[in-house]
């Protein structure tokens, strides 16, 4: 499943890093900012409280000073009991002089009668005799020495209070009307910041004094303001923060208050929240700017860091991609000293291994190709050899036939026939050898190993080759032995036959020995000769097919150089080890190692083929090719058989309708794709399944052949040697019908 690979790692890392750092910065900045805000407000309120306190002290002091002045006068006048009006007037005028805030002063005698009134604005009045005994000022002063009255307005716009002072309950009382504009002057000294005001309210919330005198003259009532209300109502000293303090215009303010207990007033200092917090907001703006800067720095740092982190990963990715695309020589060079470097190294190792594998594969391919080339070479050699060797007998054959035609009936005819026969034999042998080789290569040769005595086999071989050896003047002997071996007798015979053929062929003079030797669990069958030997440079190739060490020595009788190749294959099929030693000029020794077997009492010796009489046998020949059919008919007739020669299945059925043939010889492949097997089966159905049938075919390996073989019919291959053919027919007629026995006879 293809995966979508995008190059987002860098941005992911950057986003993560920058995001984290920025979040931390924002969080810390936010928290810091919040606390700074709270602290600034607290600091500002503390400052205001301090101002309020000091202003309250000043006002209290102011009032106290007025009262003290009054008390001083009261004291002074009390001492002189009988004080005249003039002295009184002087004292009061002096009081007015010293206390600019006092607009009017009255002297009330101890019994409550007004004795003198001195004013700045209106006419002084002496001895008005007015009864002031019920005045709260009079009473208050007599009771508590000092008295401060409530706020009142003169002429609607001027705030005044009455202060009264007296020494004791039985003394005269001094009452003064105090113009509160002078308190405003005290307040004006409060160091007010921008948009900061200080003012005093009485216990009802009415404005008594203000940095802006106009507000006082306007008779403002501030009792509606939350901070005023709270300040008036609170009974303790502790300042309770009023969060929704507002000024009369409704703007939020920071407020602090302080009671002026002497008069029941409250001093308040207010500053617009915006102004009070301006520096805080400025610092928060700075923090925000720094934060922004920090975030920018974080992003830059993240970009750089992400790049550093991603680079080795990208290198590995690129390297892996190249390796994946087949460039196995690419190596990843990542030196980060950590897991990434290890990863890169792993990739490199993988690439190395892949490279090695590829190289090995290529080497093997090269080897195979070489093998193929060698095989090709073999094929070429074979074709060369075959075409040469096949042509020879063919050529000779052609010539002989021509010659025969020319001199049919002449006394040379039999000799020519013999030569023709020999050529045919040679061809047949060649083709046999080829067939065997190809069959062995295909693994189409079954092995049937069993225990048997080897001596009879050796004797028979020696007997067969005796005439040839004798004709060449060679001594061929076999050493008798009682050893038993476990092998396939037919195939072992074939091996020894080939070895002997070679021995005889390549020995000019001397002897050839065939014998056995016991070797522990094995038996070595030895074929030794005193022949020309095989040179060391030929030794490694000697078992190769079509290899002939000295082609000129082959001579008549042919040989495609397949003998030893067949031997080798058969030996490996039977799992017999073959060793060959040879000294040029001295001879050659070939050993075949066979597994030893225990001797058995009832042995069934390999039967030698016996020739029997075929006269009177009815043979059915089915072959669509006329020459082959005629040739076979001729041969069979010579042997004494009665022959029915047909070209196809229908004809065969027709011919044998009346008579049951003794033996059927059928070609596997007939005209029009007709199968010989079908024909045979029809015949079997017609004549009963006991019909003796055999196939003759030119095909060596095909499905038809294996079908026929597996059906149990013996098969003879064209060109079939007459002797073999005869043996087959004899077997079909006389011997048991088992395919195994027939096969043994064929071989």
């Amino acid at each position: 499943m293809p995966s979508v690979a995008r190059h987002t790692l860098f941005w992911k890392y950057t986003a993560w890093l920058a995001g984290m750092v920025s979040a931390l910065l924002v969080a810390s900045g936010g928290v810091g900012g919040y606390f700074a805000y709270r602290q600034a407000i607290a600091a500002q309120e503390e400052l205001q409280r301090e101002k309020a306190r000091s202003a309250a002290r000043d006002i209290t002091g102011f009032i106290r000073r007025v009262e003290d002045g009054m008390l001083a006068v009261a004291d002074k006048l009390r001492v002189d009991r009988a004080v005249g009006i003039d002295d009184l007037r002087i004292e009061l005028i002096a009081l007015l002089r010293h206390q600019p805030a006092i607009t009017e002063a009255r002297w009330i005698s101890a019994d409550g009668r007004e004795r003198l009134m001195v004013s700045r604005i209106v006419r002084d009045v002496a001895d008005s005799g007015e009864d002031r005994s019920r005045d709260p000022g009079f009473r208050g002063a007599q009771a508590h020495t000092r008295y401060a009255g409530p706020l009142y307005y003169v002429r609607e716009s001027e705030p005044y209070i009455s202060l009264a002072a007296s020494r004791d309950a039985r003394s005269p009382v001094l009452i003064a009307e105090v113009n509160l504009k002078f308190v405003g002057e005290v307040i004006a000294k409060v160091r007010a910041g921008p948009e900061e005001v200080a003012y005093v309210v009485d216990n009802g919330g009415a404005l008594v004094a203000h940095t802006d005198i106009g507000r006082v003259l306007a008779k403002t009532d501030l009792s509606a303001l939350p901070q005023v209300r709270s300040a008036i109502l609170r009974s303790d000293q502790d300042f309770a923060r009023v969060d929704d303090a507002r000024n009369p215009e409704g703007a939020p303010v920071l407020a602090a208050s302080e009671p002026i207990e002497r008069l029941g007033w409250t001093m308040l200092v207010e500053q617009s929240r915006k102004e009070a917090l301006r520096p805080v907001y400025a610092s928060m703006a700075t923090t925000a700017a720094l934060l922004l800067l920090g975030i920018v720095a974080a992003v830059s740092a993240s970009l750089a860091l992400a790049r550093r982190m991603v680079r080795p990963i990208r290198q590995i990715e690129a390297g892996a991609k190249e390796i994946g695309e087949g460039r196995l020589d690419k190596r990843i060079d990542v030196r980060t000293g950590d897991e990434l470097e290890a990863l890169g190294a792993q990739f490199n190792r993988m690439a190395e291994r892949l490279e090695a594998i590829y190289t090995a594969l290529e080497a093997r391919i090269a080897e195979r190709t070489r093998d193929l080339a060698v095989a090709n070479e073999s094929k070429t050699r074979f074709l060369a050899a075959a075409s040469h060797d096949l042509r020879q007998p063919m050529h000779a054959l052609a010539l002989f036939v021509g010659q025969l035609r020319a001199c049919a009936g002449s006394p040379e005819a039999p000799r020519l026939l013999e030569k023709i026969e020999r050529s045919v034999d040679a061809l047949a042998d060649l083709l046999d050898a080829l067939l065997d080789l190809s069959r062995l290569d295909m693994g189409a040769v079954p092995t049937r190993p069993r225990a048997f005595a080897i001596d009879p086999l050796l004797s028979r071989l020696v007997a067969e080759f005796a005439p040839v050896a004798e004709s060449k003047g060679l001594a061929l002997t076999s050493v008798p032995t009682s050893l038993w071996v476990c092998s396939d007798p037919a195939l072992l015979e074939r091996i020894l036959l080939n070895l002997l053929t070679n021995a005889i062929r390549f020995t000019v003079e001397g002897r050839i020995l065939v014998g056995c030797r016991r070797c522990g669990d094995h038996v070595e069958v030895i074929v030794a000769d005193t022949g020309v030997g095989i040179g060391p440079k030929h030794l490694p190739h000697v078992f190769q097919e079509f290899y002939q060490a000295e082609p000129h020595r082959v001579g008549q009788g042919g040989g495609l150089g397949l003998g030893l190749a067949i031997v080798k294959r058969l030996a490996s099929l039977l799992d017999h080890q073959i060793t060959l030693k040879s000294i040029p000029g001295m001879g050659t020794v070939v050993r075949v190692r066979v597994l030893r077997a225990a001797p058995q009492r009832h042995s069934s010796p390999v039967e030698a083929p016996v020739t029997r009489d075929l006269h009177g046998t009815l043979a059915l020949v089915v072959d669509d090719e006329a020459p082959a059919r005629d040739a076979l008919r001729g041969l069979l007739t010579q042997w004494g058989c009665e022959v029915l020669a047909t070209s196809g299945g229908d004809e065969a059925i027709e011919c044998t309708r009346q008579r049951r043939p003794d033996v059927v010889l059928c070609d596997l492949q007939l005209a029009d794709g007709e199968s010989g097997l079908e024909v045979v089966e029809r015949l079997q159905r017609m004549h009963g399944h006991g019909l003796a049938c055999a196939f003759i075919t030119a095909e060596s390996i095909s499905e038809r052949v294996s079908d026929a073989r597996s059906a149990g019919y013996p098969i003879a291959l064209k060109p079939a040697k007459p002797a073999k053919l005869r043996a087959l027919i004899e077997h079909l007629c006389f011997d048991s019908r088992s395919a195994a026995a027939a096969d043994a006879a064929i071989r």
Binding site: L47, T103, P194
Partner: protein
């Protein structure tokens, strides 16, 4: 985190240490103040100084245009119109006629009265507490009961005064003599009415005073009287009349006494109004102030020449003594 703490500390320290001025220096286009005065030209330097304290510096953010009528009332309307044409930001009037002329010249440009009598009665303001219109400022009317006070003071200095000529304008805040006539019997003084509504009438009033055998003079501060300072002082001296008036300058010129609202205090207060209005306050919302400081001035050499002994009570009260 440490820089944050340092910030806050610095903040708190700055708030405590830095002495903020009462008002920050204003910025923006220069403001124009028009000063309209009935009387003679004067330097206005105390006004300039007071404005500078509040952040208004002439030449930088302040321009002062002055118009003086030189005691000619008829010139005031034209002068007021000139100031209006100059598009001043505020007109300050010195003396009541100037205030009236300014009010007639504009109902938009704010007007600050640096002393006027009975602005309510004159219709300059709706009420002292809430003026309402474009006029506000300081009135120098102390309110009722002042006349008798002044007479009492004169009587203290010159006890033998029994027939007091009061030189005042008619129709200015009702009849000025009525209150005094009601209050003076206890003082043992007969009030003689000698009205002088214009400059021309001053001499006639004085002649009338002589004819009525006045042995004392009360010359309240009003624009007419203020203009005739020299004439009145000389008259008082020539005819050896103890006189009390409403201007320190008269006493310096030879009159015996004066008791009136302190011009310095009024001027100072007017500057506060100017500052407030220049900073955007609405004149209609600024209450009119009354004077709270009154000054007593005595000319001792005049007292000596009139063979008067100033009693201790008066001496105590006196704010300024001329010799």
């Amino acid at each position: 985190m440490s820089h944050r703490r340092a910030f806050v500390r610095g903040l708190a320290a700055g708030l405590v240490i830095a002495p903020f001025p009462v008002a920050a220096i204003p910025h923006g286009a220069a403001r124009r103040v028009g000063w309209l005065h009935l009387g003679r030209p004067w330097s206005l330097n105390p006004v300039r100084d007071a404005l500078k304290e509040l952040g208004w510096i002439e030449g930088r953010n302040l321009i002062i245009d002055t118009r003086f009528a030189d005691n000619e009332i008829d010139r005031l309307p034209a002068l007021a119109a000139e100031l209006v044409a100059l598009k001043v930001d505020v007109i300050v009037t010195q003396s009541t006629p100037a205030a009236i002329a300014a009010k007639n010249a504009t109902t938009v440009i704010p007007i600050v009265m640096a002393g006027s009598s009975n602005p309510e009665w004159l219709g300059l303001v709706a009420s002292l507490a809430h003026p309402g219109g474009n006029v506000t400022g300081v009135t120098n009317s102390p309110g009722g009961g002042f006349g008798p006070k002044v007479i009492q003071l004169l009587k203290e200095a010159a006890p033998r005064v029994s027939r007091l000529a009061v030189l005042d304008r008619e129709g200015a805040g009702g009849s000025p003599w009525q209150e005094m006539e009601a209050a003076t019997p206890p003082l043992g003084v007969t009030v003689l009415r000698t009205p002088a509504n214009t400059h021309a009438e001053v001499s006639r009033a004085l002649a009338s005073a002589l004819r009525q055998r006045a042995d004392g003079l009360y010359i309240p501060a009003n624009p007419v009287n203020t203009a005739e300072e020299r004439l009145l002082a000389e008259f008082a001296l020539t005819h050896r009349l103890p006189a009390i008036c409403g201007a320190k300058e008269f006493v310096a010129a030879g009159m015996l006494m004066s008791y009136w609202a302190s011009w310095a205090a009024i001027r100072r207060q007017a500057v506060v109004y100017i500052d407030k209005i220049l900073r955007g306050a609405n004149p209609g919302d600024l209450p009119v102030e009354r004077p709270s400081k009154f000054e007593l001035a005595i000319n001792l050499s005049t007292a000596r020449s009139l063979r008067l002994t100033i009693p201790q009570t008066l001496m105590l009260r006196a704010d300024e003594l001329f010799d």
